[in-house]
């Protein structure tokens, strides 16, 4: 591509959470600069947690994200429960898995329909679709509302749930509310089918780059809420070794840290989970994957959108099964008392965008001495840049606008949550 000059500057990329820029500079066919730059100020949440009590930590930590607040709540609770050896009941586990499914559906529907689909339908945002694809938008809203209502019923609030506390629940949902959710999830099956039919018609860019995929894994269940760390390159690793997995490092052009393990980068999120745990998906989700042409292992990062649809299908059906169990057993108020003490604990869950780590150290007074949170999007930043480096040379012969749009779509496919990921502060002491 000698002689080609391209200048792409996207400042800031739209239809992602937060603020990030794409820079591509090509002179005479040679790529001089190609960056994915996160420009937001760091948020210093770990410092904010210090000194706070064990029973209020998860309320603060969950504010890291408004899309995946259930994931942050659960990672936080699990870290506190690990640090203080707090057991949870089977009923609590089921309710947490249920609210988790709600968040997964909510986040995936938000991304696939409202953030990614406009690219594939050739419009700039969801708003023109209200005129041209009214049914599609209404379906997206219906699915999202149901998913948010799951959080409201189980957790007491649509985002940032209040009823989840260390050891269990401060209040339990009413039976009628669970029955209502059950009924609406049943109706949602048709919406899942329609979603698969829609996404089947969309054409994703044809691009592959094999990499390391990291997620949680459980032997008999599709892992969201718990499990071991699993790498497609190296197999399982205990969650306590998460720092050896993430190896966070800073780069000059970004306020968010990057991560790598066995290769220059690794990928987390729906595609990584489906690649690592395809066998544990429910049959309905596998059927959706087949219908959508998602065969694992899949090395096309754009297929993360498809993996999200597959997971949404899994969650709808699995949520119905959990609800059936809860309704059959009936919810009981459980007495539990927590004795706060010193300790250290790691809590790991799969947030919608990938594996999420919280680690806390508590003092004798049950207050946080030290906290560390590693967010999925951090772990994807380097992978996005590696994809850029593999993809850009192949598309330099296209019109500049198309190059820009393809790079935008690539970042969007990762569904980045940039604000969550800003961590890095370069302090110069003078």
């Amino acid at each position: 591509m000698s002689g080609v000059n391209v200048r792409v500057e996207v400042e800031h990329l739209t239809r992602v959470e937060g603020h990030g820029n794409i820079v591509l500079d090509v002179k005479n066919g040679e790529i001089k600069k190609l960056e994915w730059t996160v420009v937001e100020a760091p948020r210093l949440f770990e410092a904010m947690l210090r000194g706070h009590r064990w029973d209020e930590i998860h309320h603060i930590a969950c504010r890291i994200c408004g899309i995946c607040s259930v994931s942050h709540t659960c990672a936080s609770l699990r870290a506190t429960e690990a640090a203080m050896d707090i057991p949870i009941s089977d009923q609590t586990l089921k309710l947490r898995r249920l609210i988790f499914h709600g968040e997964m559906i909510q986040s995936h529907v938000l991304h696939v329909y409202l953030l990614a689909a406009p690219d594939l339908l050739g419009v700039g945002s969801v708003f023109p679709l209200i005129q041209t694809h009214r049914e599609v938008v209404l379906r997206a809203m219906r699915m999202k509302k149901l998913a948010n209502d799951i959080s409201h019923v189980i957790g007491g609030r649509h985002v940032h749930p209040v009823a989840l506390i260390p050891g269990g629940f401060s209040a339990l949902p009413k039976r009628e509310a669970l029955e209502d959710l059950r009924e609406r999830l049943e109706a949602c099956k048709a919406d899942v089918e329609a979603t698969v039919d829609l996404v089947k018609t969309l054409k994703l860019p044809d691009f592959e780059r094999e990499t390391e995929y990291i997620s949680l894994r459980m032997p008999e269940e599709y892992a969201f809420y718990e499990g071991l760390i699993y790498s497609s390159d190296a197999g399982p690793a205990p969650v306590e070794h998460y720092r050896e997995v993430t190896n966070e490092f800073v780069v000059p052009h970004s306020t968010a840290k990057h991560a790598r393990w066995h290769r220059n980068s690794y990928m987390v999120g729906a595609l990584a989970r489906v690649n690592n745990n395809y066998g544990m998906l429910r049959p309905e989700a596998k059927a959706a994957a087949e219908a959508l042409g998602l065969r694992t292992p899949c090395f096309n990062p754009f297929m993360n959108n498809v993996a999200q649809v597959v997971e949404a299908a899994h969650c709808v059906y699995d949520a119905i099964e959990i609800l059936d169990e809860l309704l059959q057993e009936g919810l009981r108020q459980e007495a539990f008392k927590v004795a706060p003490r010193a300790g250290r604990g790691v809590g790991v869950v799969e947030a919608p965008r990938g594996i999420l780590f919280h680690e806390y150290e508590y003092g004798d007074d049950g207050r946080i001495v030290r906290a560390n949170c590693i967010i999925p999007t951090n772990q994807n930043h380097e992978s996005i840049e590696d994809d850029f480096r593999a993809l850009a040379p192949k598309i330099l012969d296209r019109p500049q606008d198309e190059i820009r749009h393809t790079l935008e779509m690539l970042v969007r496919a990762y569904d980045p949550c940039i604000s969550c990921s800003t961590h890095y502060l370069d302090v110069t002491f003078i």
């Binding site: 706070h52 209020e56 609030r157 209040v162 401060s170």
Partner: protein
């Protein structure tokens, strides 16, 4: 339940207390909060001055006058 709901801006319909959790004052303090009276009330229900300050420390930092000098 001991919380700072009485001096917190309304609008949430007391979501947290309704779900068995103390109010952290996430909507911020009312325009003229009677902090002293609230502090006395919380202490009458068994909270230490440090714990009272802690209640003001999450979303309304500095809202409690005796916060200064209290170890977090």
């Amino acid at each position: 339940m001991t919380c700072i709901g009485p001096v917190t801006r309304a609008g949430c319909e007391a979501l947290c207390p309704s779900f068995g959790h103390a109010c952290f004052g996430c909507r911020g303090l009312v325009s003229e909060p009677n902090r002293d009276s609230e502090a006395q009330l919380l202490q009458a229900h068994g909270l230490t001055p440090e714990e009272v300050a802690g209640r003001f420390d999450i979303y309304t930092h500095g809202g409690y006058p005796e916060r200064k000098g209290v170890a977090a």
